[in-house]
């Protein structure tokens, strides 16, 4: 690794000793050969003529925000190009010459600068926002067909503006609700911010906020997500074929990046809604050098409860708040630091019972340019999720559970001369899980569950290479190592879940290490400027698992790491996609198919006791899964009417010894059909209308297939797991935005929406009971949650 590092640093001078070092390797094993390929590509690129590097940042001209994924094209060399990274940095190496360099980004006006390249230069672009979408002038040379040309597949990027105009429950615009409208991504249930990607479970999504893992992305039973969209700049979802810098979950990565803050001027924006309000402040710390943003949000449903005369009612707690803050400072052209944090809390309290939970994350980052071609980012990452249950049952009892991460992440990005980028780095995280600790003021035992410690490490390398103008590839691998460490007891169980052996490890002692190789590759063949075909393979490994046996997901669901009993979950996914743009890139269409096979999946024994159980691992079954499907997506990006239609046809199945006689059965999240239609229509500059309609096959559920009586109570008889279906779900939401005032100095608007416009009784649960008026019969009862939920919000910005 050290040699490799030196090599990268000195890549302009060809280090002959490294070449010979590799040539001397006579007996190369398979893995080494794989690594060798990388070097070949690097070497190829070095043997070239006089070439210089053009590098810099692309930013929003109005507020100085770095633009992620903005593209650079060279008018004289149309086949060349580069894309900005997560920090808005680009780098491109060209032969000496006179060029017109164009920078563009969706939603911004393109900008062209001329450069006479005689030496490596730095060139920044500040792009003004497109102000008038209605009378839009099509800027020639703009590269709108990025979906065709980029190598990445199975990836969706959300425009924050889209998130803001889609009508949602309670008018609270929401990232997680919006991604559920995309193909292959499904909501776990009514109003839920939990989601399933390509048949994965809700815990198989890696949710990152400025690189920190968010372990529970839900507020208020999932009706809100923890992401305040005012504080967010960029949202990308990778559906299982993510590049190798990401890892740790089977199904997807949701990478959310917070705003950096306006470094030009101080500004305020906010919204006042029915049940919550939010406020964001941002401004320069030092003009053009550093900025900050602070965003806060709180619900106030409980304020109304305070008005109640009932003492129990007015002491009821029911709220959440969250707080995002970020600051960045540019030390000089080569160094920049970022500090970002999130803190959120939910509280529910009814008479003698209370629960509160929340996430906290923190990221300290250092961007460093080793050269105009080698970009480095070092991050120190902290994440915490905890819940506290407070109960006064005679004595006051507090139960605390927590998962905490301390991590370091190092990423290098090498932009080389020819059309290639090399990314490599490592990631090391220490996880500490407190499954449940009890404290009490009274006279009861303070029994706590054994804390779980683990250390997760990974190294990765990824190479993006363009073979020809038509054929490109991104491939690489990730090696992850997960160590379960002491102190703690590790139990061995027999088939009946009885403890047959206990081994005790001391602090820092490694009980077990799992090392996994995760290869990833994506190929793109560009048929023409309007269509391409992409194929991908990825292996993903998951070392932390969420134990949840509720239909909706609870804040008290427990994360457990691998152990001697629990093995890493593994998924292998292959996908194939066809991409086609129409009408001068006005419409984009994609069709993707995927097949995913999963190992070491987790389910529970019948009657499992998951709550506060030291031997929770004895309650688990291990099996396998498979998921496959077709995803169709058609999107119109511009014009007065825009929006998309997405359709998913899919199947997700599980197979466990001990469930349904060991045969494949549908997973809970298995849904055959899933349709979303999203439309936004701008009537005039004042009014914009929006609507979305969703339809999906009901989840697989277990209904009783008979009944009997115990202690005079009617009991349901269950035979096969998930052999039944919930009724189909469909819903229309409508919304309107009224722009009251829009000047460069002040902007105000009202947004109105109605959730479930035609009042469909969608099943949240179906329960079975004795008939209310005739206890000799039984009946099925459907509970639905939301019908015609209106909301309005006043938004302002100055």
């Amino acid at each position: 690794m050290l040699q490799f590092y030196c090599f990268v640093k000195n890549q302009n001078r060809i280090p002959q000793h490294i070449i010979t070092y590799f040539q001397k390797q006579k007996y190369m094993r398979k893995k080494q050969y794989f690594i060798f390929i990388f070097f070949i590509f690097i070497l190829q690129s070095i043997a070239a003529q006089q070439r210089f590097t053009l590098s810099g940042y692309i930013r929003d001209a109005r507020n100085g925000e770095d633009l992620i994924g903005a593209s650079i094209t060279i008018q004289e060399l149309p086949e060349k190009g580069s894309v900005t990274n997560a920090y808005g940095f680009y780098s491109i190496t060209l032969p000496a010459g006179l060029y017109h360099i164009s920078a563009q980004c969706l939603g911004y006006q393109a900008q062209v600068q001329e450069v006479n390249l005689k030496m490596s230069v730095k060139m920044d672009f500040n792009l003004p926002e497109k102000v008038n979408e209605l009378n839009e002038v099509v800027v020639t040379g703009e590269r709108k067909n990025e979906n065709i040309t980029k190598t990445q597949t199975g990836m969706q990027k959300l425009d924050i503006k889209e998130i803001n105009s889609i009508p949602v429950l309670f008018g609270e615009k929401d990232v997680l609700k919006t991604i559920q409208l995309l193909p292959g991504i499904k909501s776990t249930g009514e109003g839920s911010s939990g989601f399933n990607v390509r048949g994965g479970a809700a815990d198989q999504n890696l949710i990152l906020l400025d690189e920190a893992t968010v372990y529970n992305a839900s507020h208020l039973m999932g009706f809100f997500s923890v992401f305040n969209s005012d504080a967010i700049k960029d949202v990308s979802v990778y559906k299982g074929n993510e590049p190798s810098e990401y890892g740790g979950r089977l199904a997807s990565v949701l990478d959310i990046k917070m705003k950096d803050g306006n470094d030009k001027k101080f500004s305020v924006n906010g919204g006042i809604g029915l049940i919550s309000s939010r406020l964001t402040l941002e401004g320069p710390l030092v003009k053009d050098k550093g900025s900050f943003v602070i965003s806060a949000r709180r619900t106030y449903a409980d304020m109304f409860l305070k008005l109640s005369k009932d003492t129990n009612m007015n002491s009821t707690k029911l709220y959440f708040y969250d707080f995002n803050a970020k600051a960045n400072y540019k030390i000089n052209d080569k160094n920049r630091i970022f500090l970002s944090g999130y803190f959120g809390k939910d509280a529910i309290g009814i008479s003698s019972f209370g629960i509160n939970w929340g996430n906290a994350t923190g990221t300290l980052r250092w961007n460093h340019l080793f050269s105009s071609r080698l970009f480095s980012n070092t991050s120190l990452i902290f994440s915490n999720y905890n819940y506290t249950i407070n109960a006064k049952i005679g004595d006051e009892i507090n139960i605390i559970s927590r998962i905490q991460d301390y991590g370091i992440k190092q990423d290098f990005q090498l932009f080389s001369g020819k059309e290639f980028t090399l990314k490599f780095g490592f990631n090391s995280v220490y996880h500490k899980i407190i499954p449940g600790a009890i404290t009490t003021k009274g006279d009861i035992d303070m029994k706590s569950l054994t804390n779980k410690h683990s250390w997760e490490n990974a190294v990765y390398i990824s190479h993006q290479y363009k073979f020809t103008n038509k054929f490109s590839m991104e491939y690489g691998f990730r090696v992850s190592a997960f160590s379960v460490i002491g102190p703690g007891n590790f139990y061995t169980y027999d088939n009946n879940g009885k403890t047959i052996d206990t081994s005790t490890y001391t602090s820092g002692q490694i009980a077990k290490t799992y090392i996994k190789l995760e290869p990833r590759a994506t190929l793109n063949y560009i048929i023409n400027q309007e269509s391409s075909v992409k194929a991908a393979y990825a292996r993903n490994v998951q070392n932390l698992h969420l134990l949840s046996n509720s239909t909706s997901g609870n804040p008290t669901d427990l994360w457990i790491p691998n152990s001697n009993n629990v093995k890493p979950e593994i998924a292998d996914q292959v996908s194939l996609g066809y991409y086609r743009n129409f009408s001068d890139n006005l419409c984009e269409f994609s069709a993707e198919i995927y097949y995913k096979s999963m190992q070491n999946q987790i389910d529970y024994k019948n009657g499992a006791e998951l709550n506060f159980n030291e031997n929770v691992e004895s309650q688990i079954l291990f099996g396998k899964g498979r998921a496959y499907g077709l995803e169709l997506f058609m999107k119109k990006n511009q014009g007065r009417l825009n929006g998309w239609i997405s359709y998913t046809l899919s199947r997700t199945e599980r197979k466990f010894d001990g469930i349904n006689n060991g045969s494949y059965y549908p997973a809970k999240q298995d849904r055959t059909h899933d349709i979303s239609i999203v439309g936004m229509y701008e009537i005039n500059k004042k009014w914009t209308l929006s609507a979305n309609w969703v339809y999906n096959t009901g989840n697989a559920v277990t209904y009783p297939s008979g009944k009997y009586q115990i202690d005079d109570k009617t009991m349901m008889l269950y035979t096969n797991r998930n052999a039944n279906r919930m009724p189909a779900y469909h819903r229309l939401d409508v919304g309107a935005t009224w722009m009251v005032k829009k000047t460069p100095r002040f902007e105000s608007s009202w947004s109105f929406s109605i959730y479930n416009f035609y009042g469909r009784d969608n099943a949240y649960t179906i329960t079975f009971r004795d008939k209310e008026n005739d206890s000799t019969k039984t009946e099925a009862v459907l509970t639905s949650l939301f019908r015609f939920i209106p909301s309005f919000t006043y938004n302002f910005k100055f």
């Binding site: 008479s351 009861i444 297939s705 009944k707 009997y708 008889l717 039944n724 039984t778």
Partner: protein, 255 residues
Amino acid sequence: MLIFITAVTLSSCQKVINLQLNSTSPQIVIQGNIYNESGPYTVTISKTVDFDQSNAYPPVLGALVIISDDHGTSDTLIEKPKGTYVTSKLRGIAGYTYSLTVKTGNTSFSSSCTMPEAVDIDSLYTETSFMDNKQLSIVFMDRANVENYYRIIEFKNSKKIEGFNVASDDLYKGKKITYKLMSMGNGTDSKISTGDYIIIWLEALDKGAYEYFRTAEQDGSQSASPSNPTSNISNGALGYFNACSVTKKSIIVPK
């Protein structure tokens, strides 16, 4: 709990629907109790029916039912109408282990259960909780140095309240336990009001019986994978065999 809060917070809506449910061949349901009180004790045997049929469960007639203890008593139960079988000489004594055998047709089922020592109820009291509901608490002292499992049965104005309430001494070994009964929701049987006459049974259970009632309590539509309670009877029978010590106390719900 969470679903309850959700229901309070948001205007949810319930309606009865027609569902086409699968049917399955009838299965045997066995329910037997032995108390630390004088007998006779009963075992009932019935069969399951399909969901859309009425709540009339076909009794199993002509079964051979034997309960024996580990002190030399074996009692062949006498068949009474409606699939009920009663003991004639067996006595329920704490510390004894009882074995049940049921033979019907060519199938036989068996179970065994040890009767724990009785635990007295120290006190019952009520307090006003959320939305003016009265909540009943049961206070008792856990027996030290042994694993204890409890079931609480509530009778309101002589009517048994449906449902299963269990507790273990996992966190309270040898300490005072206060068990709060849920009594929320208007119109439900569990809601208690001033003047109601409440009798509480505190059953001390063995682990197998506890597992049955615990999983019976847990099972519900909120589970993502509902399943039948874990029976302590062999060979796939539904139901339970429970030899328990019971103590009783009553209260008239005060204002």
